[in-house]
Symmetry: C2
Subunit: 193 residues, 2 copies
């Protein structure tokens, strides 16, 4: 089986998960469960895309994957619905204290978010600077603005502070991004820091 | 690794894919690509959910899944955006000539579609009667009506004819469900058979 181009970076990310911790992913999972249980929003993480090469059948009703490969995801990790609107985002952590490296996001994921934006959906990134303990929401059009006007390979922390929104730590939901989305898109855009 | 309850049926389906053919799935995939390339809608199939039990690393940049198990999907297979609206559906084939067996759909998939409906999204089933060569779109509230008023374990073909919409065969897109959704939700509900 030929290894898909572009997947290597993904594998590297996967391999290092245990080192990096999966704090943000777990926090978002818990938040999505909270939204679901309280009937606020229906947002799910997509399964990791895998190419299955070999399956064994120990019994008629059992299947065990014996060979599989990680595929590069063609979309973002999270999508769903809030107040009738389509929601789509990607979540990433960085250990940098000064900027978010853009090689954390695949080009087709940015292209995907751009087309969501064009089709009237709400697309954004959630980026956590783990060593600063700051989590930001950055709307897709703010990300596209940055990419249009800069050749930098990372987005400075200052850009998040200026054009993004801090998601405050809470007990429940842990990462309340819907609160920000609600203020930005449904509450007359009444967002205040 | 304990085998997840409810996944056995899924495995059975997976095993029999090669026999059943995957005509509908391929047709929808081609249609979604058409919508994407022509900037009509952004709708993707979710990856098959898999629990990874063992991964080998033949080299620093390579990962091979050596043991994995199919999980019961917690949502439907397809979702995305059309004209700003959230779209969500499940697609199934049946070889029956008279009815669609309800054990083809998981209960939590129906519950998922129900909550999408409550949150203002557009949810539906696409069901193909392969031996009749008929493909129907059935809106989620029509499915819920049926379940409320019937104890039957399958939906009769007649119900699809009366409460669903036939998706006509086309060259491109092959399964033009967006045409029906457009007429039902965006064109003043001007649907005519």
């Amino acid at each position: 089986m030929k290894y898909p181009i572009g997947a290597k970076k993904y594998i590297k990310q996967y391999n290092s998960h245990s080192n990096r911790g999966m704090g943000l992913e777990n926090d978002i999972e818990a938040s999505n469960n909270y939204y679901l249980q309280n009937d606020i929003a229906v947002i799910h993480k997509k399964p990791t895309p895998i190419t299955i090469a070999k399956v064994d059948y120990p019994s008629r009703l059992e299947a065990v994957i014996k060979e599989g490969y990680f595929r590069t995801p063609s979309t973002t990790d999270y999508n769903g619905i809030y107040k009738g609107k389509y929601i789509d985002f990607e979540a990433k952590e960085t250990t940098s204290k000064t900027s978010f490296p853009l090689n954390n996001i695949h080009k087709h994921q940015i292209k995907h978010l751009e087309s969501i934006y064009k089709h009237g959906g709400i697309g954004f990134l959630i980026v956590r600077f783990t060593k600063l303990n700051h989590t930001f929401l950055l709307e897709i059009h703010k990300l596209l603005d940055f990419l249009k006007n800069s050749d930098r390979k990372s987005i400075p922390l200052e850009y998040f502070k200026k054009h993004g929104y801090i998601i405050k730590d809470k007990y429940n939901p842990r990462v309340d991004y819907i609160e920000i989305i609600n203020k930005l898109y449904f509450d007359g855009g009444s967002y205040e820091e």
